[in-house]
């Protein structure tokens, strides 16, 4: 293994930056921005180093760091990384600096904003890399605090209420999860994810908890994760939180924070409770489908641009869970012992799981880009974000229109851009496991195209009107914020192997379970 504690560096570099900001109260705004951006970019740097040393073929955790922490409780400081974590670390390294660049022109309390943002980034990385529930949960909860203040202090007029709703709702979910893990700890004496997963696979976890308790504990963990993603119907905090947050925070919330929940589903819920997830998958599939379909159709009825993108996020993230639930539950009734059928089911599972992981990454790129574009629109027109407040923006700002259009088509899932590959694989897998679910989810594909093109038509096309008058095209800073993501959308659309190569062996072992 690497002698350098790479994962600790990954997690704590942003926090170190935050600490420096906290200790230097006189730091000028521009120096704060520079410092924050630099530390934020460290994630990308360390992520790429990890990527170059990463061995995709080995599906165990890599770069592992284990130290005893609280001996009396058997708590370890335990970090490790596999293909899924790596994907999300890289995504954080891309989205977080972009979000900071998007907040570059913020003038109020610059130092505090950057400080909170770095705290948030570090907490998210901790969630993706921690393998012991004890500090995993600390990271998980600590991410709420900076997010709360970012929304509340720099958000729109409705922000205090939205921030409140967001924190209380998420906290409520987390409380159930904490209680559930307390129960697990009481029963097994372990909080290490790999150990617990191993125990779950061997049936010892179920034996230790007992048939009833394991169900209750499952529900507890589920609630904590479902609120965070969010899964329908636990999503009602999301539209106002995303809409009221400042642009940079919206980008991070949708790009990274929603992935924390999905990550939890893959890292905790599925390995620890495979039988319970299997039993519940019928209901959960319908919840995910409701998120896919109702999310997209609710987006259609929005007149506020950011609320529209927020609902579209519900739709996109629900695809990931749809795939997971189909894998966890589907197919068992289809398997009729024949070797051919079981091979077909395995390849459907591989497709669904790969699709879900790719979709996490792709949605992070496209949704944060769309939120940034909505932020640009609002910043040019006194903060107005109504669909009807604009017209003909493409006439005065062709470059902005072009790049925003690419982000939009990536979100629609146009082939050639990144979004398609993930969605196609999810549909391919879900169809093989639960055909009707794929059919229902098609409605979501249709509605997404409809509302995004309506947005495009109203805001960018038609005669110049409203906020579209004298609309300045992108300047250098905005271009620098948007362009890396757009380039990646092309690159990953044409060469999905760049990401698929990192996760495929992992997914293959998952599907074989």
């Amino acid at each position: 293994m690497n002698s350098l504690p790479l994962l600790s560096l990954l997690v704590f570099a942003p926090w170190a930056g935050a600490l420096v900001l906290a200790l230097l109260p006189r730091l000028s705004p521009s120096a704060s921005r520079g410092l924050a951006l630099g530390t934020s970019l460290s994630t990308l740097l360390f992520g790429l180093i990890a990527c170059s040393d990463f061995n995709p073929a080995a599906t165990a955790y890599q770069f592992v760091e284990v130290h005893n922490w609280i001996r009396a409780l058997g708590v370890h400081y335990y970090l490790g990384l596999d293909g899924m974590s790596l994907l999300l670390v890289l995504l954080t390294g891309l989205v977080a600096p972009a979000a900071l660049l998007a907040s570059w022109r913020l003038e109020r309390d610059v130092r505090l904003f950057n400080l909170l943002f770095l705290l948030l980034q570090g907490a998210a990385l901790g969630v993706f890399l921690a393998l012991d529930f004890f500090h995993w949960f600390i990271f998980w909860e600590l991410s709420l605090v900076p997010a709360f203040f970012l929304i509340k202090l720099w958000g729109g007029p409705g922000a205090p209420r939205a921030a409140y709703q967001f924190v209380i709702y998420t906290l409520a979910g987390s409380a159930f999860m904490l209680a559930a893990f307390a129960a697990i700890y009481g029963a097994t004496g372990s909080l290490s994810f790999p150990q617990l997963a191993h125990a779950a696979a061997g049936g010892e976890l179920a034996a230790a908890l007992g048939p009833w308790w394991i169900k209750i504990v499952f529900v507890g963990v589920f609630l904590g994760l479902a609120v965070k993603v969010p899964l329908f119907p636990f999503h009602t905090w999301l539209p106002s939180a995303y809409a009221e947050a400042p642009t940079g925070a919206s980008m991070f919330l949708t790009g990274i924070m929603s992935k924390m929940g999905v990550y939890g589903f893959f890292r905790l819920l599925w390995p620890l409770f495979p039988a319970q997830l299997h039993a519940a998958s019928g209901v959960l599939l319908w919840l995910a489908l409701a998120g896919v379909v109702l999310g997209a159709f609710a987006a259609m009825a929005q007149t506020d641009l950011k609320r529209m993108i927020a609902y579209s996020s519900i739709n996109h993230v629900s695809y990931c869970l749809l795939a997971l639930f189909a894998v966890a539950g589907g197919g068992s009734e289809l398997a009729r012992d024949s070797a051919a059928t079981s091979a077909a089911l395995t390849s459907a599972k591989e497709a669904a799981l790969s699709g879900a992981l790719l979709q996490m990454f792709n949605h992070g790129l496209s949704a944060s880009a769309l939120f940034f574009c909505a932020g640009i629109l609002a910043s040019r027109n006194n903060g107005n974000r109504g669909l009807a407040d604009y017209g003909g923006v493409r006439t005065s700002a062709p470059l902005f229109a072009g790049l925003c259009g690419l982000a939009m088509f990536s979100s629609i899932g146009l082939p050639g851009l990144n979004g398609f590959v993930g969605e196609f694989l999810i549909f391919r897998g879900v169809f093989g496991l639960v055909p009707y679910a794929a059919a229902v989810a098609c409605l979501g594909l249709f509605a997404t195209a409809y509302f995004l093109l309506t947005f495009w038509q109203k805001v960018f096309h038609g005669p110049v009107a409203g906020g579209g008058k004298n609309f300045a095209d992108l300047d250098g800073l905005e271009l620098a914020t948007l362009l890396p993501g757009i380039v990646l959308m092309f690159l990953l659309g044409l060469a999905p192997q760049l990401l698929a190569g990192l996760i495929n062996p992992l997914v293959t072992t998952w599907a074989a379970k």
């Binding site: 409140y164 409380a175 007992g210 590959v421 038609g462 293959t508």
Partner: protein, 675 residues
Amino acid sequence: MIISAQHLWLIPALPLLAAGIGALTPRGGRSLSAGAAIAAMVAAFILSCLALRTALIDPAAHQTFNFAWFDLGHGAVRLGFLLDPLTAFMCVMVTFVGALIFIFSTGYMKDDANFKQFFCFLSLFAAAMLGLLVANSLLLLFICWELVGLASYLLIGFWFHKPSAAAAAKKAFITTRIGDLGFLFGILWLYDARGTLLFFDGGHGVLEAASLSAMAGTTLSCGLALSTAIGLLIFCGAVGKSGQFPLHVWLPDAMEGPTPVSALIHAATMVAAGVFLIARVYPLMSADQVLASVPVHALTVVAFIGGITALMGACIAVAQNDIKRVLAFSTVSQLGYMMLALGVGSWVAAIFHLLTHAFFKALLFLGAGSVIHAAHHEQDMRSLGGLRGPMKTTFATFAIGMMALAGVPFLFSGFWSKEAILHAALEWDVSILPLIMGLAAVVLTAFYMTRLVAEVFFGKARSHAAEHAHESPATMTIPLVILAACAIALGFLGTPAFPWLQAKLLGEAEVHGHSLLVGAGLMGLSIVLVALGLGAGWAIYGRKLRQSATAKDPLETASPPLFAALAARLGFDELYAATVGRANLAFGALSAGFDRYVLGGTISFLTRFAHFTGVVSLENDESGLNAGFNATSEKLRGAGQSYSKAQTGDAHGYLRVLALAFVVLVLLVVLGGGR
């Protein structure tokens, strides 16, 4: 130079490169963008001709080049390129017509501010279209299929500042996407059933015998064969893209795009992609033909949809006044013919008509473009007139295109390809209805084209713009002349006496000619019908020419309700707006309302409830918690902000419930199940 399957990627890559150059050049780089686009098309044409030469060496072979796109599980998602006569003929047509239309566009779009962007989009379209043709994988085909849809969207909405153009672009994308969802579903099903989407893969491809017999041999619970179900789903995509009934409504609106776009995308190439798709997967579509006792064969549905579309399009075209809309409905109708041919079992007749139609319809659209350009963007036939004199070249070439489309016998290509379709329909033993619909459309086609020519080119100019029209520049007329020559010559590639094209498409090395008189009865009948249509058209519109732009149409005088219904395109748009459109919006509003009132209401009720229990049960803690929490939040919130008492209360109520729940759960675990 030998072009084989592994070099085929070059053909779409060249226009893609040109599109990239077009995208990155600054606005002023007009000649660079256009030059790159035309050069790439010409180069792609040369490569296509070389590929055709390779394909004709052994027409029965399907040369493939397959490769892994990315790893998936134990295998990989594989794509590939395919070289056979079908691909090669289509590539030659698309690059040839495309290059001519690109050249025409340099004249037509000369004054447009977004000139360089226009060529960027055109090149993007060409790349996607050619990629679609060379694909050896249904997935790669679908990828390119969606990309031509994108290019079509961008080009229909090219004059995006016009609300009608912006609306038409969206309508086209959404309508075709409805069909594409069916197509996608078919792809998923096929992928799941066969584990691959490659067409030909050394015996493992989905179009090869093992796969076909397995799919035809699987019967679904609804009684259909698996291959029928998948075939019909794939056909959904073709219905959307090729403007077939009932998804034809987007194609006439697509005429909002610049006329060269209408010629290239919405007449000659993209809309024919649906026909190409069905021809490409023809083994799959026809796999169920061996089964006698299934409720329906996939191709039967194709035949009837095609027949209905052919007749309906021709009827509506009779009552349109916009020169481009007449041609658009004519395209709908002609695509219906091609589908009909596919359905009745002759995919080679469909491709023959696709190729001839591409040339003569591109000619007609470019002719219309030349007229529109000369008449300062006047498109209403009632306001044109008398252009025969000032625009001699345009008139002559347009007349050739018109006769090819109408099916004037022997000299014109449209006659031979349409005859091939009608003969195939005659030999179809399932039903005679498609043949009857096809024959009825023959009369109507000749009739509406005569009406169009009489209104536009004969009589006197009926508007200021038409009076001052003059012939277009050479960049525009030369492509017209070349296309006109092709509109005549191409027919002789596939006459019954020497059916070279058909033989090569079918993979036969030798060409077996028949006598011209085979099926002479039907040929005679259709010649009579063409004459009838031309005669009636001339009798009504030619002998008594329109005098003013506002005069009523003779048909309108004869039967106002019928004419009104046809002019309103039989009300499909209104019907869809009232049903699908309204249901769509209503469901959207319902989803949003459900979210806000039902779910939101439940949450706020739960909050109140939590607050209430908190207040009642833990009075003591409140002062302690509150003090600490308030002190913190007081520091952080700005002086002017304050949140309501209720919200603070909610929070604490929540926290208390959480604490309670946590304690209770832990206790229960420790006392009860924690062993």
